[in-house]
Each structure stands twice: as C-alpha cells, then as structure tokens.
Assembly symmetry: C2
Homo-oligomer: 369 residues x 2
C-alpha cells in the first residue's frame, strides 16, 4: 500500500491494497467491463434522447458528445461510463442477465447528465470533458430545459417497463436524485462560508456523488427482482465507492494533470472549492494549516483573485499538502474503498460478479481522471 | 351565448353556455370546491416542502407565498388551486374518497411549481402572483435548484405510497411533465420565429397547459383504482379544459386588468408572446392583419421596443382585435370548453361529481384572472 504523493501533478492517486491481493480480481478486464456497459446502454440512451422535441434533442446530443457545436457527428468523450457498467453488474449480482439492468443504466446516466447540465450552469463552469458546456454554447435556457427533460426521461424509461420492479427502481432513483440536489445545495452554500468541517464536506460529497453511484449498483438488481435488503447492501458498496471516487476527484481537482482531467491547472483552487484536501488541511492545525486559513480568508475578500498567477495557486497547494490535506484525502479514498469492498462481502452473489465489482472499485480509486 | 368584447380591459372573458343550462351545475359552489382542494392538499404540500434541505425549504416557501422575502410568515396568493380541486374530484369520479387524490394533488402542484420556477428564470419574468419571482429574490441558482427539488419531490410523494396504482400515477405524471417541457421548448423557439401557425400555437399550449391539467384530472382516479380507459377519457376532459383555460389566459395577457392579473398592462405584447389572439390575427388576412404583421416584424428588429408607450401597445392590441384575433380566441375558449364537457359524458361517474367537474370547467372559462 503506497501513496505516490511526489508533488507532481497527475501522479497523486493512491494505489489500493486489494488490486494485487486476489488473482480473480487481477484477472478482470475492467476496460472490457466498461466497454460492455457503454455498448449495451448507449443505443438505448440515444433512443431515449431522440424522443426529445427539437431543439432539445440536438442540445442533448451535443452534451453527450455525439455531435459538435455545429451539429456534425462527433465521437466525443462520454466519460468513463462507470455507472452503466455498475448497473449491468448489479443485475448480474441478483442472478439476472446483464441486459435486465440496461433501463437502469440509461436512467442513471440520464439523471447524472441532468445534474451536470444544471450544475455547470449554477457553478458557471465553462468546460466539461474538454468542450464548452451546454450553457456556453446553447445558452442558459437550453441548459435548464434539457436538464429538466433528461430528468423526466429517466423516470419515463423506467416506468414504461410497467412492472412492480420498475416502480421500486424509480423510487430508489428518485431518492438518489433528491440527495444529489441536496448535495448541490450544500456545495453552493459552503462556497459562501469561511469554514466547512470535514464531516460536512463528506456529507455533501456523499449526497453529490455517493447517492447516484449507490443507485447505479442497486438499480439493476431491483429490476432483476432483488429484495430490499440486498439492494440496500449493494447501495452501501456504491455509496462508499462514490466517496472513494470523490476523494480521488478532489485530489485530481488540485494536483491532476490538465491534459488528463480536461480541467485547468489547480481547477478546484481557482473555484475556491472547499474540497476534502482543503477542509482536511484547515482542520489539521499547525503552522501550514494556519497560514493556509489566513490566505484563503484573504482570497475570499480579494478583488485580484481572478488574476492570480500559477505561483499563487501553487503556494496554496503546497500549504494544503504541508498541512497534511493531500495525504489525509489519499487515506480517506483507501478507507472508503475498504468499506465498499467489505459491503460486497455481505451480499450473496456469483463469485465472478463479486470479482468484477471489486476490480471496478480498484479502478475507480487508481484512475487518473 | 355572448362575448363581452367591449374593448375594456378586464371584461374580455367569454361567458359559456352551460353555466345556466343545468340546475345541478348552477347549484355547485365552486369556491367551496377550490377551498376543499386547498384545505386538503396544502398541509401535505407544506410537509413535503419541509423535507427539503436548507435553504431550499425557505426558497420554496417564498415561492408558494407562505413567507415573504425576509422569511416572515405570509398569507400569500397561492394561485387559484384549480389543479388540487380537480385531483380530488378525480378520485371521487372513480368512486374513491376525495382524500385518495391528495398525494396526486400534491404531486401535480409540485410539478406545476417546478415549471413556474424554471420558466420564470428562462423567460426573465420578474413578477409572479404580485411578488418578485424567486430568481429575482434568491438568484438563478436557487431557482434552478429548488425547481429540480420540487420535481423530484413530486415523484417521491407518489412513489412512497408503494402501490401499483402509485407507479401508474407517476408514469402519467412523467408523461405530462415531458409534454410540459416540450411546450416550454416550443414557446422559447417560437419567440425567435417571425411566424407561428395557429396549429403550432395550440400544440404548444396543449403541452404547456393541457397536459398537466389532464394529469390532475386522471391522477386521483388512477390512485383510486380506475382503469386506463377511464383515466384517458378524464384526461381528454382535462386537456381541453386546459386549452380553454389557456385561451382565456391569452385574452387576459393582452386585455386583462393588471389589478386582477398581477401582470403589467399588455403583458404578453410587451413580451412579444405569439399567443393565440396574435397568431389568429396574423393568420386572418385583411388590412388590419397585414398592418399588424408589418408592425410586429418591425418591432422584432426595433431597439426602442423596451421604451414603447402604452399607446403603442394599445395600437397593436386594437389591430389584433380588428383582425378578429380577440373574437377568434373567445370562440376557441368556448369550443375547447364544449369538447371538455363532452368528454365527461363518456365516463361513468357519480352525477354529483359530474356536475362539479362541469361547474369547474365553467369557472375556468369565465374567470377574470
């Protein structure tokens, strides 16, 4: 178990213990799993988006990277597609065919992208997946409207199955969506506060990232007929996996390689995000922590913040690291990863699926973007 | 059957034939029906909104008129509450108790208010129900976020019932919501077009207003166990009632009394809305129609539009009336009202409920705001 915290951007991600502890897990081809999730869900996702009235179908296609801003076909970066892969494994965990999880995979992707469209607008983010965000290209009204449409479409895709299981799956998706919205509300309100506790930050990240990943891991099983206890336990795996994922994201948001993340250098610092490394550093105490607190308090009142140089952000990043915020966040990623893997142990499922879910958890924690 | 088109604002609404044709309908106390809808649904609506994380609960309470901008309790104008009244009658139409329709009433109100929050922001509307809109008071991010939260809450309120009927009700609500969003997309795109046909306008209004009113009239029945055919027929009543309602709204949007509507004089003309009176006048042909077309085309390119005087809007309103747009829209309101009443005849329901639904339809068409 090592942490490569050399201070170089792009090499900040923690390695995880289980990656080499189990030959069955090592044998899993994660790339193939992700590719299967994409291959089975994307045609259904595109068919769902095609139902939208013009111009929402075009705006959504741009958002998903299927066309460029001029409407020409594009082979965009649709993201890692971890959620669809999880939704299919979720069905298999319940003993159903992977295909049973497809409407769940589509619904979760629709909700995820609904939240991206709205969050990018609320946060004023101009770039996503190396491209201009929808509100930059098509205007705020389309970002709001298409987000709304994707949210409605998510429920439609599930409910038109017309089964009792679909109703249960929609209820879980609705709960996750409410948490997602709660998390965004917390994120926005924390921006205006001088101090945020580590617990508040974890709660916010659990809502923003954990809840929907949890739903991805239960929704296929629910569609496949799993009982509530099984679904809840699968959600525990997904929730903690989400927290591990977000901890890594928070490391990449400060020390990530812009070429890999598609974001600016020191992205989260530029946005004054109170992410885990920052709140952990501020909570740590000691000279670096105190100095960081003074700097960030001054930054909050500064009129020159937007013209800060690379060096000024580098100073803040160094203080976060010196105060232990980077190391703490790496350990937190590993800790959440461990809890996630333990939750898997409580569910009776085919060993092959267990190994695949374990390998996906490892992948999420060691990813570089 | 008379139309009071005297040219005076506030007296433009058509009277309807059935209002005096049936003693059982005349005997219905519409005010009491609306009050019952409000009394039964508001406590549940407030309980649902109270679930939202801070500050969304406060923002939503402001939107509903329960508190003022400073957070003090208010006795705001929550609207006419036609939808809750319809949802309760819908349950009774299926032979169930009115109370069975309450979660449906709450869910429909939540979706309706989700759309108001987002539409006001997209359209830049600064006033609603005689008060500043949420985005004006609490900012665009809160308007987006609280709208999203109300939409999610609507599904949650239904699905937590955990019944097969609740799943069917949620599916109908989802379909209606998608149409609502389609209608807003059409509304926005029509603003940028020089000409919109009467058919396009009716389709847009059917989506924006008809679909959710239709859902209000079926959702209680579905929760009460009605079959799909009954629900579909009830929706036909609600859909055409919605079109009648919107035609009256379009009349009030130009000739309504600002004191009653809470909107500016010539409100829809100021917003360059291609509402029914306008598109009907433009489609009519003849000198007034042609002159109106020329004026509106020039307005679309004018830099001075925002400083137009009352007289300039009055000129446009007079041309719309002269070209027959006002009379056509009055007739359209009556025509849609007649179709709605006919649809009621196809559903087997207690005669008392039929008289109440008929009286509500009459009320909607003769309302002054």
């Amino acid at each position: 178990m090592t942490v490569s915290s050399t201070g170089t951007r792009g090499e900040t991600v923690p390695t995880v213990p289980s990656a080499s502890a189990n030959p069955a897990v090592d044998a899993v081809d994660v790339t193939a799993l992700l590719e299967r999730g994409r291959a089975l869900s994307t045609p259904e996702l595109r068919a769902a988006v095609d139902r939208l009235a013009a111009p929402m179908d075009t705006v959504a296609a741009y958002h998903f990277g299927w066309i460029d801003a001029q409407g020409r076909p594009a082979d965009g970066d649709g993201g890692k597609a971890v959620r669809p892969a999880l939704a299919l494994l979720s069905a298999e965990a319940a003993g159903a065919a992977a295909e049973v999880g497809v409407p769940g995979a589509v619904a979760v992707e629709l909700v995820h992208n609904f939240s991206l469209l709205h969050d990018d607008l609320m946060d004023g983010d101009e770039q996503r997946r190396h491209r201009d965000t929808v509100w930059k290209v098509h205007g705020p009204a389309q970002a709001i409207l298409v987000g709304d449409a994707l949210f409605a479409l998510a429920n439609e895709v599930l409910l038109e199955l017309g089964t009792v299981e679909a109703g249960r799956a929609t209820r879980r998706l609705t709960t996750a969506t409410r948490k997602l919205i709660d998390g965004q509300a917390q994120d926005i309100s924390y921006e205006h506060r001088e101090r945020v506790t580590v617990e508040e930050c974890l709660e916010m990240e659990g809502n923003k990232t954990g809840a929907l990943l949890a739903c991805a891991v239960s929704i296929g099983a629910v569609l496949g007929g799993a009982d509530d206890r099984t679904a809840d336990t699968l959600e525990a795996y997904g929730y903690h996996l989400g927290l591990a994922f977000q901890a890594v994201d928070d490391l990449l948001g400060i020390w990530g390689d812009p070429d890999a993340t598609g974001k600016q250098t020191w992205s989260d610092l530029r946005q004054r995000k109170k992410s885990l490394p920052v709140v952990a550093a501020l909570a740590a105490g000691g000279p670096a922590s105190t100095r960081l607190g003074e700097l960030l308090a001054a930054d909050a009142k500064s009129n020159d913040f937007d013209s800060f140089s690379e060096a000024e952000f580098a100073t803040r990043a160094a203080l976060i690291e010196e105060a232990g915020g980077r190391e703490w966040t790496s350990q937190e990623a590993r800790r959440q990863h461990t809890i996630a893997i333990e939750a898997l142990g409580a569910v009776d499922m085919p060993e092959k699926v267990r190994a695949q879910l374990t390998a996906l958890a490892d992948f999420v924690v060691v990813r570089k973007r």
